[in-house]
């Protein structure tokens, strides 16, 4: 630290007339626009509750990345992220059940082993049962099975893939604990869940249009299938969050390793995301199909 240079800077700013004053009315708004006031949530207990975390996910991801690296808070944050994810995915299940009920169709699932034995068959079909009301899925339990399969499947798949993420991190030379891996995984899950809740109203409008207007069957099935894969579309934001989080962990690498290990780590994280994207739909489908009977 050079006190003389700091003193020089201080004097430089004593007389601001030395620099051209920017006229905010001249159209050069960018340089004098006030940075949108992101509320300084700080690391208080209030900011760490579930609502505070959702705000941080939406408004200040950089602060969230710093927060999850504090070892003393990880034990508190992991269940909160899980609760955000669980509630969001349950909300998604409920919304999808409402869309299917409004469209008077319900997906029928067929066992994977039968599909593999007879490739000409199908895994899933939308059967219109001609229900009088849209409450039938709730009365016969189909809606709860759908909600359970998605809420549990999406999160449990993270747990199944967790050891591989830890090993990938070790392979890349990142110095991290299992808790670090868990917190990054559940954080990215929560980010994807919040994104899913965000895009759900858009899809719900599309789904209701299917219910109200006489869409061709192929178009109707396409829209309904889009709804079933919506968590994976929203999950791209979770993948991006995981990628960012692990990229930040490269500061734990030694300086000489970092240049050639950083790229390797990022590729491993993307590989893990690909593996997760394969395992999750299989798990959800299997759970749902077994519950349906």
């Amino acid at each position: 630290m050079n006190p003389a240079s700091l003193q020089g800077f201080r004097h430089a700013f004593d007389d601001t007339g030395k620099f051209d004053q920017t006229d905010c009315g001249s159209g050069e708004g960018e340089s004098c626009s006030v940075t949108p006031g992101i509320t300084d949530l700080g690391d208080t207990a209030t900011s760490r509750n579930s609502i505070g975390l959702i705000e941080m996910i939406l408004k200040d991801p950089a602060r969230l990345e710093r927060l999850i690296r504090r070892p003393d808070l990880q034990i508190e944050l992991i269940p909160r992220f899980l609760s955000i994810s669980f509630v969001s995915f349950a909300f998604f299940g409920v919304a999808m059940a409402l869309v299917f009920g409004a469209a008077s169709v319900w997906p029928q699932l067929f066992p994977i082993d039968q599909y593999l034995a007879h490739p000409n068959g199908q895994l899933l079909s939308f059967e219109s049962e001609g229900r009088v009301t849209s409450l039938a899925p709730w009365l016969n339990g189909d809606a709860f099975r759908l909600t359970f399969a998605y809420a549990v499947g999406l999160i449990a798949a993270t747990g199944i893939c967790l050891p591989s993420l830890y090993f990938y991190g070790l392979l890349a030379g990142v110095r991290m604990t299992v808790m670090d891996v868990v917190i990054h995984a559940v954080k990215s899950k929560a980010v994807g869940a919040v994104t899913l809740v965000g895009i759900l109203p858009i899809y719900a409008a599309l789904g209701l249009a299917v219910a109200i207007f006489a869409f061709p069957v192929a178009s109707r099935d396409f829209v309904l299938m889009l709804g079933l894969i919506l968590p994976f579309i929203a999950g791209l934001s979770g993948t991006a969050s995981l990628y960012r989080g692990f990229s930040g962990l490269t500061d734990t690498m030694s300086a000489e390793r970092r240049p050639y290990r950083e790229c390797f780590l990022r590729r491993l994280v993307l590989s893990w995301a690909a593996v997760y994207s394969i395992i999750t739909p299989v798990l959800i489908f299997t759970l749902w199909q077994k519950l349906q009977g």
Binding site: M1, N2, S5, L6, F9, A12, F13, T16, F19, D20, Q21, T22, E30, S31, C32, T35, D40, D43, A62, R63, R66, R70, P71, D72, Q74, I75, E76, I78, P79, R80, L82, S83, F86, V152, I155, A156, T158, G159, I160, L162, T177, V178, M179, V182, A185, V186, D251, T252, A255, T286, K290
Partner: protein, 235 residues
Amino acid sequence: MGFSVTVFFYLLIGLPVAVALWLNDRSISDGRLFRCLTAPLFWPLYIPLLFASPAMSPQSIMKVDSKIRSSDEMSSMITKVEAELDTALKSLDGWSENALADERSRISELRIAWRHQADSIRQLDRLLLESSAPTPSQSSDPALASMGATSESDQVVPKSVIPHEESRSQNLQKLKRVRRQLYEDLMATLAWVRELVTMIHLAKYTGAPASRAVELVQQIAAAVEGLSKVNQPAA
């Protein structure tokens, strides 16, 4: 192995994890209930919580001595300074993007260096707490020490031990001075960076040339050299 058998074994592992979580967390809260209800389903995510070091649990943090509690203030200060630094560096976009290009790695090193220094201070705090003399009056009163008696137990300390105790006490005093110096250096560096951060904002909004941003970012990055000298042992 069929699906139902898989689910059976999965839940068989999950239920003890749920019980362990219930017993491990003595707080009465909705969070505790949520953790225990979801543990059978998501136990792979909860097992690391069970094996986490007791020192990391929120309850154990509350029991930390005030000296170590002040070290958590270091974490808060570092987090705050990093947040301000991030904001300032983001504000370079559209004004002086190149200022950061050459200094990015040094600024990353700076973040590591002040965290490393904070860890060193915490380690010294723990060491000093563990090593602190049981009777402060003994170390401060040479007359009492020369009599070979303690003030608490009236046990007679052999005179051959006294010089070693005095030397030990002096070493502890030196450690305290080292700790104080490390702390002051860390706080000075953080304050230095905070001041430079405000200068970046001031430069931007007063229409300073982009070269000013380059100089300020270089000054921030140069702070890592001061911390690196502190962290390296003397040759």
